[in-house]
């Protein structure tokens, strides 16, 4: 894990004092609402319906036990005793008081946490593969590169006032677990046939209005040029991104308006100019820079498989609860004798992604005892203990289960991704949490979930798409119709290697129709699939929209015409 040195510490500390002064001036009437909005957003502070929301950056989803204990402390002291994990691997607090936020940020700074550029028109928290460093399908660990880029973009003066938010996502594995192409920039670590490491860059992804997937800009940027190429993209965006219309301000709109050829030519021209100038010398990464950063992300002191490996089938045979958990929430690790453990934040009657102070503390203890003191947050609003010895699995399960963190539903129908929706968010048009729970309860027996198999249901309370509805197998978008909450359904989206934007199925459903409608789609799929191995998304791709449309609008004669 990256460790701050005096430079990082000074930067974060001075940032807290800068924001303390901005808050003081705002409360004294010296800053206008508009001015303070731009400043507080750049510190993660967002105005929600009832209170400010503070978004805390979790760089590439990596947390350690002392940060978790600090989270437990701050959610008790400054909030209502819980935090919320987001699809960008961050943590949000829903109830801080504005005048206390500088103190809260000062406490977070003690453990390398902050809200710098967590919101606002700037470069946001970089997301990455939550199985970085441990997954058997990984060819290059992306974390050192994420940290190098994080430092380049943090408080970068030239790119501090961009046209719109700007997101990077990284992966270095065969399976894209970070929804990378939904980001403004996706960086795929690649290794060429001659062994050279480089970056495959995609640009122009983004959800929200007009969702788009990033398009390949350069198949191989050399390893030394991560910051040079990123600078070229950021400068091109800062110059040409639209500022006349907030809904057309993302880089994806520049790409759409220019077309990929002109867009690529502009970035490549800027990249060439950077390389040829003094900037190019400053931005080039030497092998020693990358090697030094790799030193922060070395493998922990794994014990030999002979010592920690265990056959858990005996315990599983005795305990159905443990067996179910192992089946769904435990995955392969690249090191023999170790497993990856998923911590479900999708317990019944629990808001997706929420984590209480007690759970933060229990997780701190569990990761200290059983996973080298580290925890990761995932794109799906769950958590991961990345390095659990097989011989500890039963105890880890028991301790997670004691704090309702062992629901065996990872990747299943109740593992629903959802934004906070109208219950909290000032932007939302409709509730998300209630819909998620209604759907959850229609499938809450394990047998039903296993029969359905892998499926991704995603819910956003508005067009901005924080719940990633556009890339759900079943995506649900809350809309406002004359003051009532309605829900549009999209099918066929996916955030992974087979990334696709879902297609809208037809008219929106009312609040009291939506959960039942989704249930009809899923029960119908069980009849439509060619065999038990065909997943929902595979089935949809094979048979298309029409059968599902008939299922969703079963009572309507106009369904065929809609």
């Amino acid at each position: 894990m990256y460790r701050y040195d005096p430079i990082d510490r000074a930067l974060v500390t001075q940032r807290v004092e800068q924001f303390r002064d901005q808050t003081r001036r705002y409360l004294a009437g010296e800053l206008t609402e508009d001015e303070f909005r731009a400043l507080r957003l750049r510190n993660g502070l967002y105005q929600q319906r009832f209170a400010p929301m503070l978004r805390i950056s979790v760089p590439y989803g990596l947390l350690e036990s002392k940060q978790l204990r600090k989270m437990a402390h701050v959610v008790r002291k400054y909030d209502k005793g819980y935090g919320h994990f987001t699809t960008r691997q961050n943590i949000q607090l829903n109830w801080p008081k504005l005048e206390q936020v500088p103190d809260l940020l000062a406490e977070l700074a003690e453990v390398q946490l902050h809200g710098i550029q967590a919101c606002g028109n700037d470069t946001r928290n970089i997301t990455s593969d939550y199985l970085a460093g441990v997954s058997p399908d990984e060819h290059i660990d992306p974390r050192p590169y994420c940290e190098l880029l994080r430092q380049f973009v943090a408080l970068h003066p030239e790119f501090y006032w961009l046209p719109r938010k700007f997101k990077f996502g990284f992966t270095g594995a065969a399976v894209d677990r970070a929804a990378t192409r939904t980001n403004d920039v996706a960086v795929h670590l690649v290794r060429r046939a001659d062994g050279a490491i480089g970056y495959r860059f995609f640009v122009g992804g983004g959800l929200g209005r007009q969702p788009m997937l990033g398009q390949e800009m350069n198949p191989f940027v050399p390893e030394s040029d991560l910051l040079r190429y990123a600078c070229a993209i950021l400068r091109t965006f800062n110059r040409f991104g639209r500022r006349d219309n907030i809904h057309k301000a993302r880089i994806k709109i520049v790409l759409r308006e220019w077309g990929p050829e002109r867009f690529r030519a502009a970035i490549e021209e800027e990249y060439a100019k950077i390389k040829a100038s003094i900037e190019g010398e400053e931005l080039v990464l030497l092998p020693e820079d990358i090697e030094r950063m790799r030193g922060y992300f070395t493998a922990p002191a794994y014990r030999p498989a002979a010592e920690v490996g265990a056959d858990i089938s005996g315990l599983a045979a005795q305990d159905a609860g443990f067996a179910a958990w192992v089946k769904r929430n435990v995955r392969a690790h690249k090191v023999p004798g170790y497993r990856v453990v998923f911590v479900s934040l999708k317990a019944p009657d629990h808001v997706a992604g929420d984590c209480t102070a007690e759970q933060f503390e229990a997780l701190a203890d569990i990761c200290d005892a059983y996973s080298f003191g580290e925890l990761r947050s995932t794109y799906d609003q769950n958590l991961v203990l990345a390095d659990v010895a097989e011989c500890d699995l039963y105890e880890v399960w028991r301790r997670l289960d004691a704090v309702k963190l062992a629901t065996p539903n990872i990747g299943l129908v109740t593992d629903i991704v959802s934004c906070p929706g109208l219950d909290f968010c000032g932007l939302a048009n409709a509730g998300s949490i209630g819909v998620a729970q209604d759907i959850y309860h229609r499938f809450d027996t394990l047998d039903a979930q296993y029969e359905i198999g892998p499926i991704r249901i995603t819910i956003s309370g508005c067009m901005n798409g924080c719940g990633h509805h556009s890339v759900g197998h079943i995506g649900i978008l809350g809309v406002d119709k004359h003051g009532e909450e309605w829900y549009q359904v999209t099918l066929g989206g996916s955030p992974g290697n087979d990334a696709a934007i879902g297609e809208r199925i037809g008219r929106a459903l009312a609040r009291d129709e939506i959960a039942e409608g989704v249930e009809r789609l899923i029960r119908g799929y069980l009849e439509l699939r060619c065999d038990e191995d065909e997943t929902f998304i595979e089935c949809y791709r094979r048979i298309g929209m029409a059968p599902f449309k008939a299922l969703l609008y079963v009572n309507e004669s106009e369904a065929a015409a809609a």
């Binding site: 460790r3 701050y4 040195d5 430079i7 000074a10 930067l11 001075q14 940032r15 800068q18 901005q22 800053l31 001015e35 731009a38 400043l39 028109n121 190098l148 430092q151 380049f152 943090a154 408080l155 970068h156 003066p157 030239e158 790119f159 501090y160 006032w161 961009l162 400068r235 800062n238 110059r239 500022r243 100019k273 100038s277 003094i278 900037e279 400053e282 931005l283 990464l285 030497l286 020693e288 820079d289 030094r292 950063m293 030193g295 922060y296």
Partner: protein
């Protein structure tokens, strides 16, 4: 003259006069004037004959590299911030300073609030005209809000990845 701007990090009087497009030259004394890029292009010779020194105000939508040959020898280039949150001129400034080697006075004008000043300083502006309601002393103090930086811009900072070369990773 009272100090109304920051020059080289210190409060200073402003000895430049902005010659708006609508005003005729006859209304102005000779001396140091700033004209728009459009006027500079249209009246270059006349302006140079009447005024001791002419600076140019470049719109933040201009391709600064394309414009540069026309203004490279100007003693002052002014860049615009129609809103403090519109950062286009920050890229123009960095390119002017670092790529094109502009050494003259680089001025920020427009909606320049105290909370933009730090970023202006780092991007190579050595002449900052704060919005009328801003306190000049606070703006001066804002230039040094941070003593550290991760990356280089058009200023004295060395990127951290270069500063840390030769150091072992901390644990």
């Amino acid at each position: 003259m009272t100090a109304t701007i920051l020059r080289h990090g210190e409060p200073a009087p402003d000895d430049w006069t902005v010659l708006e497009d609508g005003r005729t030259e006859a209304e102005l004394p000779g001396g140091k004037v700033i004209v728009t890029l459009a006027r500079w292009r249209a009246e270059r010779e006349a302006l140079l004959s009447r005024h001791a020194v002419v600076g140019v105000l470049v719109p933040n939508t201009a391709d600064i590299e394309a414009v540069h040959p026309e203004i490279a020898d100007r003693p002052l280039i002014a860049l615009q911030f129609p809103s403090f949150a519109d950062g286009r001129a920050l890229s123009q400034a960095v390119v002017l300073r670092k790529r094109l080697g502009f050494r003259g006075e680089l001025r920020a004008v427009g909606d320049v609030i105290r909370d933009l000043v730090f970023w202006l300083g780092r991007c190579g502006f050595d002449s900052i005209v704060p919005r009328k309601d801003q306190k000049l002393e606070e703006c001066r103090a804002a230039l040094s809000e941070f003593t550290v930086a991760y990356q280089a811009a058009a200023d004295e900072h060395t990127p951290v990845w270069i500063r840390r070369r030769g150091q072992a990773a901390a644990h």
